[in-house]
């Protein structure tokens, strides 16, 4: 049973990724850890026209008690069943300011990435932007004048079911995004694993969909009247529903027992109010990453 011996580095950041690596039975007191560094190209923010390139630190640790850290996510495998994984999950949502989202941390996951969320606060200057609204509206940066969305810890859980050892239905639910800390996001993905397509090469293909509540959608894609006063892109209230669909591929190349080159790509299409938001420059985004990781 080579189920999910596949390791997949998360292209972290982006809309932050809540990853749940497969359960990893090991001797009591042992751990399996990857640490590395790479690069990633990802949208400045969800819906942005342009990508930016960032360094990608990599971290994934799994302990024999079932606790894991994977990129910006941490969780606990509570099930002993090889066909069904579940447990609590925490995720760190990255900051979003006028420059876009901030950098993040890669882990070892599937590459389809369930998005996490974040909450927003007013800028420190109380919303007074030098240059005034006209400058903002002509700047070409929809995030100018928008409230800063701070880093935030989201909490929830995951439940993964293996239809076969190579086919996993992955779900994670995270709560806590938005101004009222009540944004909710469910990400469901179907992941097909090819753990030994070639010796030392493994692949994961994934297709996923995210559903959010209105609090989440409005936090990321809404424009409040106050924000509109600053940037004049048009007030917009985003409702809940299907938020995006994603396709991902992850390729891991075990160069040696200790070194791995992990690369991935993901395409995302925003849907519904997220697509229609004045913050969205284009509904289709893509993320690519590659990193070299050492296995301890």
């Amino acid at each position: 049973m080579h189920k999910l011996l596949v390791l997949a580095l998360v292209g972290a950041c982006g809309a932050a990724v809540a990853q749940t690596p497969a359960t990893n039975p090991m001797p009591d007191g042992s751990r399996d850890m990857y640490v590395g560094l790479g690069v990633q190209s990802l949208p400045r923010y969800d819906g942005a026209r342009h990508n930016k390139t960032l360094a990608l630190p990599v971290l994934q640790v799994q302990w024999s008690n079932g606790i894991f850290v994977s990129g910006l996510s941490a969780g606990w495998h509570l099930s002993n069943s090889p066909s069904w994984e579940y447990g609590p999950l925490l995720a760190l949502a990255p900051r979003r300011d006028e420059d876009g989202i901030s950098g993040g941390l890669g882990g070892v996951g599937d590459g389809s990435g369930g998005g996490a969320g974040a909450t927003s606060i007013l800028p420190g200057d109380g919303g007074i932007v030098p240059g005034g609204p006209d400058k903002l509206s002509k700047s070409g940066n929809p995030l100018l004048g928008m409230d800063v969305i701070q880093r935030r810890i989201l909490y929830g859980g995951f439940s993964n079911y293996y239809l076969t050892p190579a086919l996993r239905l992955s779900n994670n639910l995270l709560y806590g995004a938005g101004n009222g800390h009540d944004g909710l996001r469910l990400h469901t993905a179907l992941q097909y694993m090819l753990p030994n397509a070639l010796p030392h090469h493994s692949f994961v293909l994934s297709a996923g969909v995210s559903v959010v509540n209105s609090a989440y959608s409005n936090a990321y894609f809404g424009v409040s009247p106050r924000e509109n006063e600053r940037n004049r892109i048009g007030a917009f209230r985003a409702g809940g529903g299907v938020h995006d669909v994603r396709l991902g591929v992850r390729w891991n190349w075990a160069l040696s027992p200790s070194w791995m080159l992990t690369s991935g790509a993901q395409a995302t299409r925003l849907l519904g109010d997220a697509k229609d938001s004045p913050l969205t420059e284009r509904p289709n985004n893509w993320t690519v990453s590659t990193a070299l990781a050492y296995r301890f």
Partner: protein
């Protein structure tokens, strides 16, 4: 460090790392940790499994690939073990914390691409060669329950028999004793296990539906393996 400086640095490190790893790693290997994860599932399985056994198997990808001369060993900083393969490519897999913590490798003296590496479930072989028909059914049922535990796709499948695997044609003798009657079951060339490439063994398929639930199945020569058959 600015990103324009950082990116070339990272790419250079990646390139050097890839090249360094390629140079440093001679020979063929499989990660012991990855194999451990697959093999320990059976050890932790809590339902009845007394009639089963689990091995680690190297299966040739193609029928033309031979297992003759193939050797497998466990190599770590402090752990060195030879893992002898039986004619079907199976070996007993040691579950060792030291080897796991050392990130040991399973070293192979052939190209790894020639083989598939996986756990192999089979039924326990009796030393006296005499199997109650009911016991074979129970063993097959245990195997099915385990397969369902690790693979939900087995949910609708059923036990239909047991395959006795022999290396030589002369050894492939399987008798069914039911009361005073004695029947010799036919043998054919075939693969030891479903999914294995090639037909390099002599096998006797004992199908439950063809024979009474009671009786005894006798194998004068010890089979290499007993494989559960599912439909």
């Amino acid at each position: 460090m600015k990103i324009k400086t950082l990116i070339p640095t990272v790419l250079l490190a990646l390139g050097l790392g890839v090249q360094g790893c390629a140079l440093a790693q001679d020979g063929e290997w499989v990660s012991y940790r990855d194999a451990y994860k697959a093999m320990v599932v059976f050890a932790k399985y809590g339902k009845p499994k007394n009639l089963l056994q689990m091995h680690y198997q190297l299966s040739p990808q193609e029928a033309a690939t031979s297992l003759d001369g193939v050797s497998l060993s466990l190599n770590g900083k402090t752990v060195q073990l030879n893992l002898p393969l039986d004619p079907t490519g199976r070996t007993s897999f040691p579950l060792l914390k030291a080897a796991y913590d050392e990130n040991a490798v399973l070293a192979l003296n052939r190209k790894a691409s020639l083989f598939a590496f996986h756990p192999r479930l089979s039924l326990a072989v009796r030393a006296d060669g005499a199997y109650d028909a009911a016991e074979l059914r129970a063993a097959c049922e245990q195997a099915l329950q385990y397969q369902r535990y690790v693979n939900a796709a087995f949910g609708a499948r059923k036990c239909v028999g047991v395959r006795f695997v022999y290396q030589k044609k002369a050894e492939a003798v399987l008798q069914l004793r039911d009361g005073g009657r004695e029947t010799l079951l036919p043998s054919v060339d075939g693969a030891a296990f479903d999914g294995d490439a090639g037909a390099g063994f002599r096998v006797v398929n004992y199908r439950f539906s063809d024979w009474p639930e009671r009786g005894q199945v006798v194998s004068p020569f010890p089979p290499l393996a007993l494989a559960p058959l599912f439909d």
